[in-house]
């Protein structure tokens, strides 16, 4: 029973991440730089990294990215997102040991920068053009800001959930 509950929770998280992904698609992106976005869906990723096992967080992100890019009709974005998320989750799972939940926003900033690093590496390999690294500084600045924001959101969510004692691990 416990396993079924856990899988159901992961399903809810994935659905939530997908909804956030689509809400964000409706907001026009003012920045003419490939790869810059708010990344609302990463609120779920950050939350999952901190409150679930590493593979569970990775699974939620993998399903969200695959379904999201297929539904949005932008399959070419899949590779960049996947590379970014892989690096982001890998890094955050390690950082989780050193950065406690009270500083979730900080872990999220590092996660976002790692995400951008993965994206740009994938783009460089795919386009065989190292000049794309010129966009890296912009991605870092936007990643720090967006990552801080999504991290704060995840922190708020955790605080609220703990208050109403809905959380599985507490």
């Amino acid at each position: 029973m416990k396993k079924a509950k856990r899988i159901a929770e992961l399903g809810v998280l994935t659905a939530l991440a997908l909804i956030m992904f689509f809400v964000e698609l409706q907001i026009p992106n003012p920045f003419p730089i490939p790869g810059i976005k708010l990344g609302l869906a990463n609120i779920v990723t950050v939350y999952a990294v901190y409150r679930y096992k590493a593979w569970e967080a990775a699974a939620v992100a993998a399903v969200r990215i695959t379904l999201g890019s297929v539904f949005a009709g932008n399959v070419s974005a899949l590779l960049y997102s996947a590379a970014g998320s892989a690096l982001c989750i890998f890094g955050m799972v390690i950082l989780k040991r050193y950065i406690d939940e009270k500083h979730l926003w900080l872990a999220s900033v590092f996660g976002a920068v790692l995400h951008n690093t993965g994206q740009i590496l994938a783009a460089c390999l795919l386009l065989q053009t190292p000049q794309i690294f010129a966009y890296y500084p912009f991605l870092i600045v936007s990643g720090c800001l967006a990552g801080g924001f999504t991290g704060l959101c995840a922190q708020l969510v955790i605080n609220r959930l703990d208050k109403i004692k809905m959380h599985p691990n507490r």
């Binding site: 003419p32 070419s76 950065i99 065989q128 966009y135 720090c144």
Partner: protein
Amino acid sequence: MKIKPFIAAAAIIFVLGIVGSIFALTSSPKNTVRISQDGKILYTIDLSVARDEEFGIKCSEGTNTIEIRDGKIRVRDADCPDKTCVKTGWLSSAAMPIVCLPHRLVIEFCEESGVDAVTR
């Protein structure tokens, strides 16, 4: 484990990002432009002698319409999902290429080859 070193590291990364962005934005343009797709060079164009024109670059996913006018180059239109390449506008910095990720197209300034003005 103390949190301060991590905050300092994040702050340094952020500042480096801002410095890098300023550098990338202020890097002055050159004359020769290279258009490549999938890492293969399609065109090398000397903008100082190129005449105004518009042409399409097709790939299996769609088309980008390139416009050259008054010695400047941009992607005027594209049927990619994000249209980032169109929004980038005229190519103005040597450090920042115009990139269309969905069509794997890159337009960038490069060193002058001196061999031919316009290569098709």
